[in-house]
Amino acid sequence: MRNLRLKNTSLRLLVLAGFAGLPLTFALGHEGHHAECNDTTINAVKADIQAMGEGEAKTAATKEVEAAQQLMAKNDVEGCKSHIHSAMEATEK
C-alpha cells in the first residue's frame, strides 16, 4: 500500500516536472528564429542572404528583408518582425 502511494506521488511529480519544462522546450524550439526588429538583426539577415546562391529563395529573402526595413522606418514593429521571420525562413531553404 505504502509502495503504491509512493509510486503515485513519484508519477505525479514526474508529470508536473514534464509540464514545468514545456515552456522551456518551446522557447528552445523558437531559438533559431528570434526575430527582433532592429538594425543588428536586419544586417545579420542581409549577411545570410549575401551568402546564398542565386535562386527563388534568395529573391524571396531579399524582398522580405526590404519590406522589414520599410516597416521599421514606419515604426511598425510587429509587421517588421513578421517579415524578418519570413526572411530568416527563406535563408534556410
Binding site: 533559431g32 543588428t40 544586417n43 545579420a44 549577411a47 549575401q50 551568402a51 546562391g53
Partner: protein, 187 residues
C-alpha cells in the same frame, strides 16, 4: 601643349584626385569594417569575384586523387570535419552555432551543394582565405589528410543527420590521424 597632351594631363590629374580621395577616405576610417554590418552589394560582388577567380586560377595546378569516393577516405575525413570544420560550416541536423552566426562573410554551409570543384575545395582547405576566418589547414596537415576532408565534404550533401552522426562516431579520431602524420607513417 597639343590637344592630345592637354587631354592626357587632364586624365592624369583626375586619376591623382581619385587616388588622393581614396587615400583620405582610408586614413579617415570612412569604411566600416565591422563584421555585423554587411558590405554594400558592389563591394561584396567585387570581393566575391576576386575570391572565386583567385581560387579557380590557383586550383588549376592541383592534381585530384582518383580515390575520392573511397569509403576509408570518406570515413577519415568525417572525424576531421567534425573536429575542425563543423563549428563554422555546420552539419546535417546541426543548429547554427554562435560562431557561424557571427562570422562575416558567412562560412558556407557545406551540407548544401557547392559549385567548387574538388581541386578548388582542396586549395581552399589547404591555403585558407584571407580575412574570412578560413584558416590554412595546410600549415599543420599534410595533403593526404586534407584530401580525406575533401572526400568527406563531397559526400556531405547526400547525408542525413543519422548517417552523418554514424560516420563521425565510427571515424578514426583526429588526434590519432595527426599522431600518425607526425610519425610519418601511412594514415
Amino acid at each position: 601643349m597639343s590637344d592630345a597632351g592637354r587631354r592626357w594631363a587632364l586624365v592624369a590629374v583626375a586619376l591623382l584626385v581619385l587616388i588622393g580621395a581614396a587615400a583620405v577616405g582610408i586614413y579617415a576610417g570612412l569604411y566600416n569594417i565591422a563584421a555585423d554590418v554587411p558590405h554594400t552589394q558592389p563591394v561584396y560582388w567585387l570581393l566575391e569575384t576576386m575570391r572565386d577567380r583567385s581560387i579557380a586560377a590557383r586550383a588549376r595546378e592541383v592534381v585530384v586523387p582518383a580515390d575520392l569516393n573511397d569509403p576509408t577516405r570518406i570515413s577519415k575525413g568525417a572525424g576531421q570535419y567534425a573536429d575542425m570544420c563543423s563549428g563554422c560550416h555546420l552539419a546535417p541536423g546541426m543548429k547554427r552555432t554562435e560562431i557561424s552566426q557571427g562570422l562575416y562573410p558567412r562560412a558556407p554551409e557545406l551540407r548544401r551543394k557547392t559549385t567548387l570543384t574538388p581541386a578548388e575545395q582542396f586549395w581552399v582547405v589547404k591555403h585558407g582565405i584571407k580575412m574570412t576566418g578560413m584558416p590554412a589547414w595546410g600549415v599543420t596537415h599534410d595533403d593526404d589528410l586534407l584530401w580525406d576532408v575533401v572526400a568527406f565534404v563531397r559526400k556531405l550533401p547526400e547525408l542525413t543527420k543519422e548517417q552523418y552522426e554514424t560516420l563521425v562516431e565510427n571515424a578514426p579520431k583526429h588526434e590519432e590521424l595527426m599522431q600518425k602524420m607526425e610519425m610519418g607513417g601511412e594514415h
